[in-house]
Amino acid sequence: MEPSAIPALEAAVDAPRVAEHAARRDLTGRWLLSAPAMIIIFFAAIGPLFVMLAYSFMAKGDYGDVKLGEFSLDGWFSVFLQRDIFDDTVTLADAHLSIFWRSLKLSLVTTLVTLILGFPTAYFIATRPLRSRDVWLFLITIPFWTNLLIRTFAMQQVIRNEGILNSLLIATGIIDQPLQIMFTDTAILLGMVYVYLPLMVLPLYASMEKLDFRLVEAGYDLYAGRLGVLRRIIIPLVRPGIVAGSILVFIPSLGAYVIPRVLGGGKTMMLGNLIELQFGGGRNWPLGAAISITLMILVMVALLFYVRNASRLGAQHG
């Protein structure tokens, strides 16, 4: 009896360890599943990033490209500063600064406008019956089905001097001279709001859909009016959606390239266009690389501030 009982006991003791081993092997397997994506991300995104970082510290080539291995800080110097050709005095690069400022301003305004427009839209969709929600979401995502360039040119058809908007306003007698919208910051803003609005609506909707509307009822029951419920209950609870939507709109806005190119013309550049210029006609790859990395740092700092701020505000409420 006894000898056979002991191995059985040992097996019982070992059982949790066996399970742990199995779980660990399973986990290793799952890491392997993500390997192809990891490899692509490394070679297509992180790798080139290091190339860019290296290029920004090299001397520029005469016809574009860089002089490999030739160390130079000229690229970084020219991001915000310029040296006078004649007397070598160093001044701030006004052109670059104004482009940075415009990009930042337009991105912030775009984020704000999409938030103000997207919030009620998302709330509307989230409060529809389950079946019609899909239809509304489909309508919101329709613009994604069309190429960005085509959508931007379509926008141009609407706002140009002989476009739909101006023709309509003149025909109805509201104005007699066409409004100059094309090639202004307003045009870029309109284009960016139009293109990025779905990126705000979708995450907002996702968090509103999870909102327990019984909490809204509880708010009304406890004497909160419509504004009180919005401010004290809905906004704090959908904060993750607000943060996600703002990030999704702000980042591509800051690096926007096609929209300012088409709607802003050459006059109103944004950072994306400035970077393109350095790698193209400007033939100053180190400067282009330095501006790119500056842009990346700018985005990261902005994100850091925003996320921390949002979570602190959240902590204040809860």
Binding site: A218, Y220, D221, L222, Y223, G225, R232, I233
Partner: protein
């Protein structure tokens, strides 16, 4: 006397339909009910009977299709919930997850614009009432279901509502906790003097807690009364069946007098049964007998219903005897347990004797 108390809430001819036209669903059908001041009033009924709809109409989350809701004589049926001095304890508790326990309790007072010091004092007092002072700064996901229940109660009581509405607040708790909370709720109602309107589908809960209750079915109120009235004198077959365990016997009324009648049962026995208030059914009728109002005896007695003892179920405090009557129907007898095993054994012939005045005639 309860009758002297003034009316807290009155529903007058409330009809509530959801949807339009032919697809309309009538959740409440011409419901009228009076809830008195300081009363623990329960709306009892199976799910889908309209009890929660009636509660939501009083709270202001829904508006009646027809009818008026009077709070201390003033029609509030069209007011939004935030303009009604009425608070709700939700079935899901609906505690705000982004606020702490204390902030949840303070919410209503803050929305009413009460001074900061007053709010803080009131929150402390409410948390003491529900014995949650020590957990005031916890997040709502860091407390148990029973504790969440207490917080929901404190939050609803904090603004000192005239009427507190409770929508099946105990249904999510386990048996033991539910029993404790039943007593707690009753204590809080006594301490605060607030009128409680309580919704439940649990008849035992309704009987133990209520001053009065209304039994509802299919959008109508079938009977309103004290637990004793409802249990001992059910108005109709549904109420008798829904509240407690019941034996139904068919028979014919032979002679009726003041409040009672001689009923000749189809089983051949004649017994004296109480008549319901108001209506006086003629001819064929149904008589209900509670299991604890019948006594089991050995075969031979000629005054009772004879049958075969089929099964004995022992359940601690009492024992249930399943008797197969001559008609083929099953009759349930319940007897309090004393020392020793029951005298009868399954399979033996027995006689069921119904106590005087225990049978009750009900309408169908």
């Amino acid at each position: 006397m309860a009758e002297d108390k003034s009316v807290a809430v009155e529903a007058r001819g409330i009809t509530k339909s959801f949807g339009q036209g032919v697809a309309a669903l009538r959740a409440l059908d011409n419901v009228s009910v009076l809830v008195r001041e300081n009363e623990f009033f329960t709306l009892l009924g199976p799910s889908g009977c309209g009890k929660t709809t009636l509660l939501r109409l009083i709270a202001g989350f829904e508006f009646p299709t027809y009818g008026a809701i009077l709070l201390h004589g003033q029609d509030i049926a069209r007011l939004p919930p935030f303009r009604r001095p009425v608070n709700t304890v939700f079935q899901s508790y609906a505690l705000f997850p982004h606020l702490t326990v204390a902030q949840n309790v303070a919410f209503g007072l803050q929305m009413l614009g009460r001074p900061r010091a007053e709010t803080a004092a009131r929150v402390t007092a409410m948390l003491r009432l529900v014995q949650m002072e020590t957990l005031a700064n916890r997040r709502t996901d860091q407390i148990s279901g029973g504790q969440a229940q207490r917080v929901a109660l404190a939050r609803a009581l904090a603004p000192a509502p005239k009427v507190l509405l409770l929508d099946e607040p105990l249904s999510a708790l386990d048996y033991k906790l539910r029993k404790e909370m039943q007593i707690e709720l009753k204590r809080m109602q006594n301490e605060t003097g607030v009128t409680f309107i309580f919704v439940t589908h649990d008849q035992e809960e309704a009987l133990t807690m209520s001053d009065r209750l209304a039994v509802m079915s299919a959008g109508r109120i079938l009977q309103v009364g004290t637990p004793r009235e409802i249990y001992e004198h059910p108005a109709d077959r549904f109420v008798a069946n829904f509240i407690g365990e019941t034996n139904f016997l068919q028979g014919e009324i032979q002679a009726s007098g003041e409040g009672s009648a001689e009923v000749r049962l189809d089983l051949g026995v004649t017994l004296k049964a109480t008549l319901p208030r108001g209506g006086l059914p003629r001819g064929r009728t149904t008589v209900v007998v509670r299991p604890e109002h019948a006594v089991l005896g050995p075969a031979g007695a000629d005054t009772g219903l004879s049958g075969i003892l089929e099964n004995i179920v022992y359940s601690g405090v009492d024992t249930q005897f399943h008797v197969r009557l001559a008609s083929g129907g099953l009759f349930l007898v319940r007897a309090q347990n004393s020392h020793g095993a029951p005298a009868q054994l399954p399979g033996e012939p027995v006689v069921v004797t119904i106590q005087d005045g225990a049978a009750q005639v009900v309408g169908d």
